[in-house]
């Protein structure tokens, strides 16, 4: 093995190790965020020190928008029988409505998620099924 290859491989290995360290060992909330199912959050904890990411569907008729400031909203996400309350302040995605699939990220305190990110699924495809088609 000659010098140049050895040093290149060494640099590569070092940065790979650094990457793995950053994601696996160092507890850095700005880098990693754990994904929970609603069931996990509801049954196990009521508060968490780290930021969380949760996915689910918006519970029908649970969206309540502040009449004074329309950017303020609270709603429930559900999955199966479990549901959680979410508070969010900001512009909502266009597809935000009842039963839309959402992913929220934020802090979790007293069974309330204060979301800083709110995404609705399916931005680039229109995966409707035949239930949406008018029938005779």
């Amino acid at each position: 093995m000659n010098r140049i290859y050895t040093s290149l491989i060494l640099v590569f290995a070092l940065i790979v190790i650094w990457t793995i360290y950053l994601t696996n060992v160092k507890q850095d909330n700005s880098l990693t965020i754990r994904y929970y199912t609603i069931e996990e959050l509801v049954s196990k904890e009521s508060s968490l020190s780290t930021r969380v990411k949760v996915g689910g569907l918006i519970k029908p008729n649970s969206i309540s928008i502040n009449a004074e400031d329309q950017l303020e909203v609270s709603f429930y996400v559900y999955q199966g029988n479990d549901s959680l309350k979410v508070y969010y302040y900001g512009i909502r995605p266009d597809l935000f409505k009842d039963d839309a699939e959402v992913v929220v990220a934020g802090s979790f305190n007293d069974n309330l998620i204060v979301a800083t990110e709110l995404q609705t699924k399916c931005a680039s495809r229109y995966e409707g099924d035949l239930k949406n088609i008018e029938k005779i």
Binding site: N2, R3, I4, Y5, L8, V11, F12, I15, V16, W18, T19, I20, L22, T23, N24, S30, L31, T32, I33, R34, Y35, K53, G55, D69, Q70, L71, G90, I91, R92, D94, L95, K97, D98, V103, Q119, T120, K121, C122, A123, S124, R125, Y126, E127, G128, D129, L130, N132, I133, E134, K135, I136
Partner: protein, 660 residues
């Protein structure tokens, strides 16, 4: 009727693949050339059947035959003609057929042009092509058949229609462009492995695979940039790149392909790194299939993944078999790949290409690790952990900056070895220019931020170094020619490969200009009633009115907002809209709101406006404004990149491919 023909063509092509396999097997026993010829005809027939099937589906989309599930799902009578065509790749089944369609066109070119000169690659190329075609035809015939009729108990009056987000010209060009890039890697894979297996890594081969890699690279780059352009102009979150799994899976093959284009030059010039190049060429395709697996399996939550049918396990199986195949032959033919020459000097052109490979590979690893991290961590201890944009930026930004400088350092190095005195004289001017621009930047564009400063210095360094290269070759041709014009023309045309490469590098430098802007973005969300105004980022935003209007396929609320600068000059008027598609639908659930942005765009900055909600009772609009500096340079850089690679690809009369 037409749909039956299409469906039949798909089944026939499946049958043809089986018979091709049979004849190839027969050829491997009897060694009679006639069987190889028959399987070649078989493959060509498969390609034509797939093209026929695609044309049939296109026809059904155009005449709105809602008896087909696919047609009724993605189009309606109201869908404009142009978007009926683009619906061909809007959904799972159609996009898979479209994939096979493009693969057919590439294969026809590969079989009839490239393989004409490389007879010895035929057998293994046909085996691999048949296998890959076989997989996709299996999907189209049995799993996601676009000719599937709607169930017989319902009659569909009108289709669903295409998602308004996709009713956009960029979104119509972006997927086919990206597909042309993705699918082109198939040829690279087939070419690399068939040459390896048949032991014919000839000079002819490396030239041919380099030409293919340039085509693929051009489409891939254009596709990625167009995707960013669409996201920026249509999705309304104000950025063009979000490190989403889908974006990442298009970036990874691009990084590896870029590495291949550079390191294959060493092979072309000096016959080294053969094994490495084979691995890179094969990996681009493997990464494309991995990316397809990620996006179509729903295994990683992404804002735009397919969810309807789960093709994950099938793609995983396909990917695994491809990897095993590659690894098996790689080790079996390892003796072939050894080279007796060595790279000795750190300061040589070869060394420069190796550093480039190291950087691109590292970036690819970081992106791959981040994209797969949720899966890996879940397998490791059951916790699904996502990494955010911060992770990607924290690691990739410094590495990307090294790459930026490297683009300037590369041309300053000579092949084999660069003497220290030459190194010093070569580096002098770019270094000085770089430092001067760093100082100017710090003086005039404070406050201090490390990355923008270093990026600015890198851009200056690389731009100087590349223009110095142009200056030198201009001088050379000036000695021969007399007029300035003809000297310039002959300089550019004489060494297209090299000059094209430098143009691409200038394009990438311009991209970095755009990236600097990201450090200075600001945004604000607020609500206004007509007549009110708000002050933000040295501008006054004054809302004049909100009008409403019923249009052909949607209902629109149109705001009219003036942007006034500090000295009270009107900069522009913005008209962001809130649209409701399917507004005639009595069920409010089925109506779909959509924010149509308005962007005031200049070379220095974009003023990006979103009309996010309208409160009819109070007559009040909710807006988001972003000031995004330098975004236009990203698009300009993208265009320059594509022009450069087309320039490099264009065949020149002289055989001077290996001079870079």
């Amino acid at each position: 009727m037409i749909s039956q023909i299409g469906s039949l063509a798909l089944s026939i092509s499946g049958g043809l693949i089986l018979s091709t396999f049979f004849f190839l097997f027969y050829y491997s026993i009897k060694k009679n050339k006639i069987f190889l010829d028959i399987s070649e005809r078989g493959l060509i027939a498969v390609c034509f059947c797939v093209i026929l099937a695609t044309l049939c589906l296109l026809n059904e989309l155009l005449i709105s035959n809602f008896n087909l599930q696919y047609v009724s799902q993605y189009t309606s009578y109201e869908t404009p003609l142009f978007f009926k065509v683009t619906a061909l790749w809007a959904g799972q089944a159609g996009s898979l057929l479209f994939w096979t369609f493009i693969m057919s066109i590439y294969s026809l070119i590969y079989i009839n042009v490239s393989l004409r000169k490389m007879y010895e690659l035929k057998f293994w190329s046909y085996i691999m092509l048949s296998f890959i075609f076989g997989f996709f035809l299996l999907l189209s015939n049995f799993v996601a058949n676009p000719f599937e009729p709607v169930s017989s108990d319902i009659i569909v009056q009108n289709g669903n229609g295409l998602n308004p987000l996709l009713q956009n010209v960029t979104m119509a060009i972006h997927p086919p462009t990206l597909y042309l890039g993705f699918i082109g890697t198939t040829i690279l894979f087939v070419m690399a492995l068939s040459a390896l297996i048949s032991r014919s890594l000839t000079f002819e081969w490396i030239q041919s695979i380099r030409r293919w890699s340039l085509i693929v690279w051009t489409f891939l780059s254009a596709g990625i940039i167009l995707g960013g352009y669409w996201a920026y102009n249509e999705l309304g979150w104000g950025g063009y790149w979000a490190w989403d799994p889908v974006e990442n899976s298009s970036l990874m093959p691009w990084l590896i392909l870029t590495a291949f284009i550079h390191s294959s030059m060493i092979q072309e010039k000096r016959g080294m790194l053969k094994s490495w190049n084979i691995l890179l060429a094969a990996s681009t395709f493997l990464l494309v299939i991995l990316g397809t697996f990620i996006t179509r399996s729903g295994i990683v939550s992404s804002v735009h993944s397919f969810t309807a049918e789960n093709l994950g396990p099938l793609f995983l199986g396909f990917l695994t078999s491809l990897i095993l195949f590659t690894v098996y032959w790689f080790f079996k033919r390892f003796d072939l790949l050894k080279s007796d020459k060595k790279i000795d000097s750190f300061s040589s052109r070869e060394g420069g290409f190796l550093y480039n490979n190291l950087i691109l590979l590292l970036m690819c690893f970081i992106v791959l690790w981040g994209t797969l991290f949720p899966i890996l961590s879940e397998a490791w201890n059951g916790e699904k952990i996502y990494v955010g944009a911060t992770y990607f930026n924290q690691l990739n930004v410094p590495i990307g900056l090294v790459l930026l400088f490297l683009m300037g350092i590369g041309p300053l190095l000579s092949w084999k070895n660069t003497s220290n005195s030459k190194l010093l004289s070569n580096f002098k001017i770019p270094m000085i220019v770089s430092f001067v621009s760093g100082i100017i930047y710090s003086l005039f564009f404070g406050p201090f931020q490390l990355y923008p400063l270093v990026t600015c210095m890198g851009i200056a360094f690389t731009a100087t170094s590349i223009s110095n290269e142009f200056r030198k070759s201009y001088k050379k041709s000036k000695n021969k020619d007399k007029s300035i014009g003809s000297a310039f023309a002959s300089m550019m045309l004489n060494n297209r490969h090299k000059n094209g490469g430098y143009i691409v590098h200038i394009g990438i430098t311009l991209l970095f200009v755009g990236f600097i802007g990201r450090a200075f973005e600001v945004e604000k969300e607020f609500n206004l009633s007509p007549g009110e105004e708000i002050y933000f980022a040295n501008y006054i935003f004054k809302l004049n009115s909100i009008k409403s209007e019923a249009r052909d396929n949607h209902y629109a609320f149109i705001s009219d907002m003036d942007v006034i600068d500090q000295s009270n000059n009107l900069i522009t008027s913005l008209y962001p809209e809130k649209r409701i598609y399917f507004y005639w639908n009595p069920d409010p659930e089925k109506r779909q709101p959509h924010s149509e942005l308005d962007i005031y765009s200049t070379m220095r900055k974009d003023i990006y406006s979103i009309f996010s909600a309208y409160d009819a009772e109070k007559n009040q609009g909710y807006f988001k404004i972003m000031i995004n500096p330098l975004v236009n340079w990203v698009w300009i850089g993208g265009i320059v990149m594509v022009i450069g690679s087309l320039f490099a690809f264009w065949p020149s009369k002289r055989r001077d491919y290996g001079v870079v």
